[in-house]
Amino acid sequence: MLKYILKRLLMALGTLWVIATLTFFLMHALPNDPFTDPKLKPEVKQALRVKYGLDKPLSEQYIIYMKNIAKGDLGTSIKYPGRSVSDMIKQSFPKSFALGWRALIIAVVFGIFFGVVAALNHQKFLDYLSIIIAIIGVSIPSIILGPILAYLFGVQLGWFPVTVDKTQWSLILPSITLALSSLATISRLMRTTTLEVLGQDYISTAKSKGLSRYQIVWKHVLRNAIMPVITVLGPLFAALITGSIVVEKIFAVAGLGEYFVSTITEQDYPMIMGITIFYAALIILSILIVDIIYGFIDPRLRIAGKGGK
């Protein structure tokens, strides 16, 4: 197992290097540079280019950058002069994480619940209801849902604050907004796999053995139907905890999500790189964790331990 994990980590480093290299050259292929503000005088722009080493040939910049990351130095932001990229990620990430893990729990718990309920009531009222919820969840983007929730429960009913403050209470609306589309995806996935499992011989066997409906669902159906959900959980986890620009904007969350868009339009090179590497590392890591969890849930997949797969 240890050998397997080590091997995977090594591969992860390779993947990260490829991603970092691609991002580096792609972002420098964008027209112009970070200093396009008409309010900056040309001599100031030139001084800034020199300060950030952007006057050097691209290949040289690349080598310098790679050397720095190898030392764990992600550099300093251009948009926010003087602030180190790793500090900025460190400051913003916990705020996105606080929403992300809540959203993940909402999405997983309700997603699985709706999916299973729908499958058990195949083509009955509850099934259609859950399909409707799923369709709504997938088709209403958070840019619509967020303002509606904020207006309805925040402004009109006054039950929740309209932005995130220091209270737990204020995290509910944004977490739900963030969770909805993942919830819908999980419930649809769960419904399909549960239906598949329900048709298997071993379920009929369990039924004929006289097991209670509860026992069948809990011990046999869920355990087998949940596998595909766990597969999507890794990337989903990484996506949710790194935040969403839309949810963060609507609920004024000081999170990471905004950077994924703003750093590119501002061409804040060190931030683009930092945020990309951070996100990539998170995804790779969560996929690895999911792969390890597989082994515990389904012993048949424990081939990994033999160094295979």
Binding site: L30, N32, K39, V44, G82, S92, K249
Partner: protein
């Protein structure tokens, strides 16, 4: 100062959704909310013992709170709260209040301003603010190429020479061969400078700094200007002129905190930054060492960082904020007295933020837009009045270059140089110009013209309106939405005919708009090149007599319109409202937009409303 990426900023402030609601009756420009002075003295202090807390917002995370480096609005907003220069921004757009200096005198013969420093001006750590703190700051601004360091370098005698002398100049002087090296080799040579050379360079810099005509004598600072600038005292209220305590600067810079964390900020203004949680919120508390603290009524200012205008409106409606800017599309809502009453809000303050938006023409590489008659046809065909009634509700039609209410010599510039320099929406005249232009070009009809615009929804909405106007006189215009960086590339390459642009003032003088069209100005996107115009601008820049100087500026503006150098679209207005229990807030166009220096808050009324 306010226009960052102009159209992107527009997106943030003005979100236009629907068309046509009630026509918006523009109120008289009022700058102050409530009855400031009188009321505060009586009510304010009398029956409330606890802390007076104001809840407000910032529209985005400041890029930096290093006064010498900043240029964005949120940065300047906070700076004005915790810092103070020789003078402070006053209650209206051209007036000044005393700051670290009690006042100033001007000697016309030598073009010298003398500021008298007050003895009780202190830093938040209790140490006095000295003339050396100012000199250190100004030198620092130039040495670090601060965005607004030109406000120092271009004005104070000797500062330009100091700024221009860099390592390249040093090495050129030292070694005749240096000039012959290519750029890369020069760079390598600079990096390879020996310690001895660096010391010599530094010595030369020190020597040049001694020639800068800003000197302390007793408790005064005398500044001799290199150019005539009747507005110079206003500049001393700008962030770049704020003092810096050298010892604190060195200490915090070494800790990598100067200007970027709350600990790295040393206040000498009315409030100090107690907490700065990045991208989240600010907490400012009254500076007990501030010389004028007895006249500062608000003890705590909480500012949450809220990017989204819709969210801001929600916060205002739920009583989390004590006031807010109102976006254009909500203006009709907040003009409704019933809504204001329900939310316990004061009538809106509507005023110009001194930005102008216009269509830039290519004057150097496009035969069609180089034709003055064609440009005039485009300019006269635009219907700005219906545009500000239906699309950008609350803004003002731009029929000149310098925005309404912008200060002139004695009155506003517009009052002095005619409110309107041309007629809005004259399709007949436009057609005549078009016919004349086509004849000159030897064409029977114009090919479709491209108009570069920003890539937001608003840019599209604004441009569509004028596109329709142009179509009415038979000019087809194709809208090309582009991200800013790409648009800039095309502008620089001359690969355009027309482009939507905007500009806000850098300093409180009409020159900040008019010098844009000087042939050498880096922001002269269309590269308009008129020696006569350049001469006028240069004449204004060197003229000592304020009367004569402003005449040059009037004339310059008229040339821009006669030549249709650009086609003005609109002047932007901002709209603010505050709770009834807040008084004395000042909203201004140049410098920090919102100022709570004279503000007070009736906490009893605020607490009653909170309980509800």
């Amino acid at each position: 100062m306010k226009l960052k990426k102009q159209w992107a900023m527009l997106l943030a402030v003005v979100i236009v959704l629907g068309v046509a609601l009630t026509a918006c009756g523009k109120k008289e420009d009022t700058q102050t909310v409530g009855e400031a002075g009188q009321q505060t003295e009586q009510n304010g202090a009398s029956d409330y013992e606890g802390e007076k807390v104001l809840d407000y917002y910032l529209s985005s995370e400041p890029q930096t709170l290093d006064p010498q480096q900043m240029w964005g609005q949120p940065d300047i907003q906070v700076e004005n709260m915790f810092m103070e220069g020789l003078m402070r921004f006053g209650k209206d757009d051209s007036s000044l209040e005393p700051g670290v200096a009690k006042g100033y005198t001007y000697d016309e013969a030598t073009n010298t301003y003398t500021f008298e420093l007050r003895e009780d001006a202190k830093w938040a750590d209790g140490t006095p603010v000295t003339a050396d703190d100012f000199f250190f700051a100004w030198r620092l601004a130039i040495d670090t190429s601060g965005a607004y360091s030109f406000l120092i370098a271009d004005y104070i005698e000797g500062a330009a020479d100091y700024a221009a002398y860099d390592k390249v100049a040093f090495l050129t002087e030292k070694d005749a061969n240096f000039e012959k090296l290519n750029e890369e080799e020069q760079g390598a040579r600079i990096e390879a400078m020996t310690e001895e050379e660096l010391n010599a360079f530094q010595a030369k810099k020190d020597e040049l700094w001694k020639n800068v005509k800003a000197v302390a004598e007793g408790n005064t600072i005398s500044i001799t200007l290199a150019v005539p600038a009747p507005y110079f005292p206003n500049l001393t209220a700008f962030a770049v002129y704020a003092p810096v305590k050298e010892e604190f600067y060195n200490e915090q810079s070494a800790a990598n905190k100067y200007g970027i964390e709350a600990e790295g900020l040393l206040a000498n203004g009315p409030w100090k930054v107690a907490e700065w949680v990045h991208k989240d919120y600010f907490k400012l508390v009254k500076n007990e060492n501030y010389w004028n603290k007895d006249n500062i009524h608000i003890d705590v200012i909480n500012m949450k960082i809220v990017n989204d205008v819709e969210t801001r409106t929600n916060l205002l409606k739920t009583g989390v904020l004590d006031g807010s800017a109102i976006q254009s599309k909500d203006v009709p809502d907040f003009e409704d007295v019933a809504i204001l009453d329900e939310l316990n809000l004061q009538p809106m303050i509507n005023r110009s933020d001194f930005s102008i938006f216009y269509v830039d023409f290519n004057h150097f590489d496009n035969p069609i837009t180089q034709n003055a008659n064609i440009r005039k046809a485009l300019m006269y065909a635009m219907d700005r009045t219906s545009f500000v009634e239906k699309i950008n509700i609350g803004d003002r039609p731009a029929l000149a270059i310098v925005p309404e209410d912008f200060p002139g010599l004695e009155k506003t510039f517009r009052e002095e140089n005619e409110m309107e320099l041309f007629e809005d929406n004259n399709k007949e005249k436009a057609k005549e110009y078009l016919a004349a232009g086509l004849k000159e070009l030897g064409m029977t009809e114009l090919p479709t013209l491209d108009l570069l615009i920003g890539d937001g929804d608003i840019d599209q909405k604004v441009a569509e309106k004028f596109q329709a106007d142009w179509k009415e006189i038979g000019i087809n215009v194709n809208l090309v939405p582009l991200p800013w960086a790409e648009r800039l590339t095309r502008l620089q390459n001359g690969d355009f005919g027309m482009s939507a642009s905007g500009w806000g003032p850098d300093y409180p003088d009409a020159m900040t708009f008019l010098e844009l069209f000087e042939s050498v100005n880096p922001n002269n996107n269309g590269r308009y090149n008129n020696p006569g115009y350049d001469k006028l601008i240069q004449a204004a820049k060197t003229e000592r007599d304020a009367q004569t100087r402003i005449q040059y500026l009037y004339e310059a503006e008229k040339i821009l319109i006669e030549d249709a150098v650009v086609a003005p679209m609109y002047f932007r207005n901002v709209h603010f409202t505050f709770k009834n229990y807040v008084t004395g807030v000042v909203i201004r166009g140049v410098g920090a937009t919102t100022d709570f220096y004279w503000a007070d808050i009736d906490m009893n009324a605020k607490n009653i409303e909170k309980q509800k």
